[in-house]
Symmetry: none
Subunit: 213 residues, 4 copies
C-alpha cells in the first residue's frame, strides 16, 4: 500500500525508496540472526549474507554492529509500547467487568508480540547482555508499563471497583513483573499455543481474584 505524502513534501526518489527498503531488509535479517545466534555469536557477515549483500554495504546503512542492535531494539520497544497503548486509556473502564475485558485484551496483544520468541530473546536477553545503555532502554519500557498499569489501578481504585487499600505502584510492579516473567518462561521449548492461552487465563484470574476467594 503506497504511503501518502503530505503536500509540499516531495515523494522520495526511487533510489531513496530502494535504500529504505534495503535498510529494512537488513534490520529484519539482523533481528533473525541476533535471535538465532545471539548478539555476540552473530557476525556482521552473517547478517549481510542473509540479505545477500556484501559486508561492506552493511556499513552504508548502519554505523556498527552495536548500532543495528540498538535500532532493532528500538523498533521492538516501540511496537510493545504501542500494544500497551492501543485503543486503551487508563480511564476508559468504569466498571470491573469493563476493566477485566480491557486487561484481557492487553494481555492478548502482548502475548501476540511475545509469542514471537525472538522478540523476547532480543529484548530481554540480548539487550541486557550487551550493554548497560541498552538495558536502560528496555527498562524504560518496563517503567512505562508500570506507570501505565498503576494509572489503570488508580482509576479502578478511585472508581471503587478495585481494592481501596491497593498499593497501586507496587502492585503494578508485581503485575508487570508477572508479564515479564511469564514471557521469559515462554522461552522454554515445550510451550504450545494452547498452553499459552491457559497461562494467560490463569494469570488474569490470579490478578483479579487471587488464590483464595
Amino acid at each position: 500500500m503506497a504511503v501518502k505524502y503530505p503536500a509540499g513534501v516531495s515523494q522520495p526518489s526511487y533510489a531513496q525508496r530502494r535504500k529504505q527498503q534495503l535498510r529494512q531488509e537488513i534490520l529484519d535479517a539482523a533481528f533473525d540472526v541476533f535471535a538465532e545466534r545471539g548478539y555476540h555469536d552473530a557476525g556482521v557477515a552473517d547478517i549481510a549474507a542473509r540479505v545477500g549483500i556484501g559486508h561492506s554495504t552493511f556499513y552504508r546503512h548502519f554505523e556498527s554492529k552495536r548500532d543495528i542492535l540498538e535500532q532493532v531494539i528500538t523498533t521492538l520497544i516501540t511496537r510493545a509500547a504501542s500494544a500497551l497503548n492501543a485503543d486503551n486509556a487508563p480511564d476508559a473502564a468504569t466498571t470491573l467487568p469493563e476493566y477485566r475485558a480491557q486487561v484481557q485484551r492487553i494481555a492478548e496483544a502482548l502475548d501476540e508480540i511475545a509469542s514471537d520468541l525472538r522478540v523476547v530473546r532480543i529484548l530481554l536477553i540480548e539487550a541486557s547482555g550487551v550493554d548497560a545503555d541498552l538495558q536502560q532502554r528496555v527498562f524504560g519500557l518496563f517503567d512505562f508499563a508500570i506507570n501505565a498499569t498503576a494509572a489503570y489501578f488508580n482509576n479502578g481504585r478511585d472508581r471503587g471497583y478495585l481494592r481501596a487499600d491497593l498499593d497501586t505502584t507496587a502492585t503494578a510492579h508485581a503485575v508487570v513483573g508477572m508479564i515479564l516473567g511469564t514471557a521469559i518462561l515462554g522461552l522454554k521449548p515445550d510451550i504450545d499455543t494452547n498452553t499459552r492461552r491457559l497461562l494467560i487465563q490463569a494469570a488474569v484470574r490470579l490478578m483479579f481474584d487471587g488464590l483464595v476467594d
Copy 2:
C-alpha cells in the same frame, strides 16, 4: 570453626586446602567479573588479575572460560533450589494463614538471594546469552520451582483453603513468572531495600487476594 571430618576420612592436606581455597577465590572473582562486564566482555585475564594470579594459573583450576561460568551458575542454581526447599514442605501448611506465612518466608528467602543483583544478572541474562545448554540448566530451576509451587497449590486446594477451581499448574507458572519478572525488574538502578519490601508485600497480597476483594 574447624570442620570435623568423619573417622577414616583423613583431613585434606594443607596444600589441598590451599588449592580449594584458591579455586573458590577464582570462582568468586569470576562471579564478580561476569556480573560487572558480562560474560563476553570479561576476559580470563580479568578474572586472574582480580585474584592476583597469572592467567595460566586459571587453567590449572578450570578447563575453560565457559567451564567456570558453568560452575558459577551451578552454584547459584543449587543455592536457589535450597532456598526453595529449606524448611518447607508442600503439605506443611494446613490453613490459609499458615500457608500465607510460609509464602512470605519463601519470598523473603528468594529476595535475600535476588537482592544480590549479580546473581540475577548472571542467572537470567548471562546464562541465556551464552549458550542454549546453560539456558536449559537455568530453566530446569524454573521448572523445579513451578512444580514445587503447583504441589503447594494442590495441597491448599485439597485442604480447602485455596480456590476449588484453581488451575494449579498454570497458576504456578504465573506465580513463578511473577517472581522471575520481579527479580529482573529489581535490576533497575533505583530500587532500594525498602521498595523491595513493599514490592514483596504487594506481590504476596496480589497472589492471595487479587486486585479486587
Copy 3:
C-alpha cells in the same frame, strides 16, 4: 606471455588474478619459511611478514597453518610425480642402452628437483614430523615411484635386458630407497653441484652394474 583462455571461459577478472597471485606469493613464502625454520618454529606471522601482509590476511587465503603446509606439500608431490612421468613410459625402452639413458634422464630430473634442498627438507622432514596424514601423502608418492620403477623392471626383464631372476618389486624398493636416501644425504651442507653429478653417476652405475662386474 598472455595465457589463452578457451572460448566460453571468461578470463578471470583483474581482482581474481590479483588474488591468485597473492595466494601464490603466500605459498612461496610459506615454502621458504617452513624450509628455513621448520614447520613448528615458523609462525603464520613470519609468513605474512615475508609477503608484507597482515597476519589475518593470511587467513583469507588459507584455512590454517596446517592447511598451507598441506598445499605446499601437495604442490611438491605433484611436481615430483610429473618428473617421474615426464616423457617416460615403462615400455619405451627396448634395449639396455635405451633404458640406461632413460634412467639417467629421470635421475637428472629428480636431482633438479632435489637440488632445491628446501624441497627435500619439507617433503621428507617436515611432512613426517607434523602429522601421520601428511606422511601418508608423501609415502603415497614413494609407492607410486616404487610401482613405476617395478613396471620398468618388469619390462626390462621381459625383454631380456635385465636379469631374469630380478625380484622386481623388492629391487624397485631398494632403488627408490637409494634415491630417497641420496636426496637426504644431499642435505649435508658441503655438497656442491659437481659432487652431485658424480653421485648420480655412481648411483646409476651401481644400479646397473653393481660393485663387481
Copy 4:
C-alpha cells in the same frame, strides 16, 4: 649382572645407582614418547607421567626437553655406530664371498636396529625437524658410515675383488643412501618382517651384481 668396577674406583652408592636407574627410565620413556607423538607434540609432562614421576623431577636429571632429545639421539647414534663397527674391519675380507658375507651381516645388524621404527623416526625425522645442530649430529653418523663403507670399497678394489674403476666415495654415498632410504621406506605401515628380509636380499644383490649381469 653386577658390573665390575676397577680397583681404586669406589662403587657408586645406592643413591647414585638409583639416580642412574631413574635417569635411564626417563630416557626410555622419552624415547617412546618422542616416537609416538613426535618431539613437538610430546610434552615433558607426558614423559614424566609415563615414568610415574612429577614433571619437576624431570629437571633434576635433564636440563631441558631439548637436552633429553639430544641424549636420546646420542644413544641411538652410538648404538648404530657400534653396529657398523662390530666385529668388522675394513680389511677383514680378502675375497668377494667373504665381503659379501660381511655385508650381509652388517645389513642384518642395521635392519635389527631399524626394525624398531621408533629409532628410524627419531633419528631421521625428529632430529632433523627440531634443530640444525641435531641434524648435524645425525649427519655425522652418516659421514662415518660413508667413510667406513668407502674404506671397505677401497680394500676390495685394492685386493681386486671389486671393480677397478669404482668411485669408492661416491658409491659409498649411494650405498649409505640406499640403507637410509630403505629404512625410511620401512616406516610405511604395511611392511612385515618377511618383506623386510626380501628387501635386504634384493638390496645386497643389487649392490653387488646390479640389475644386469
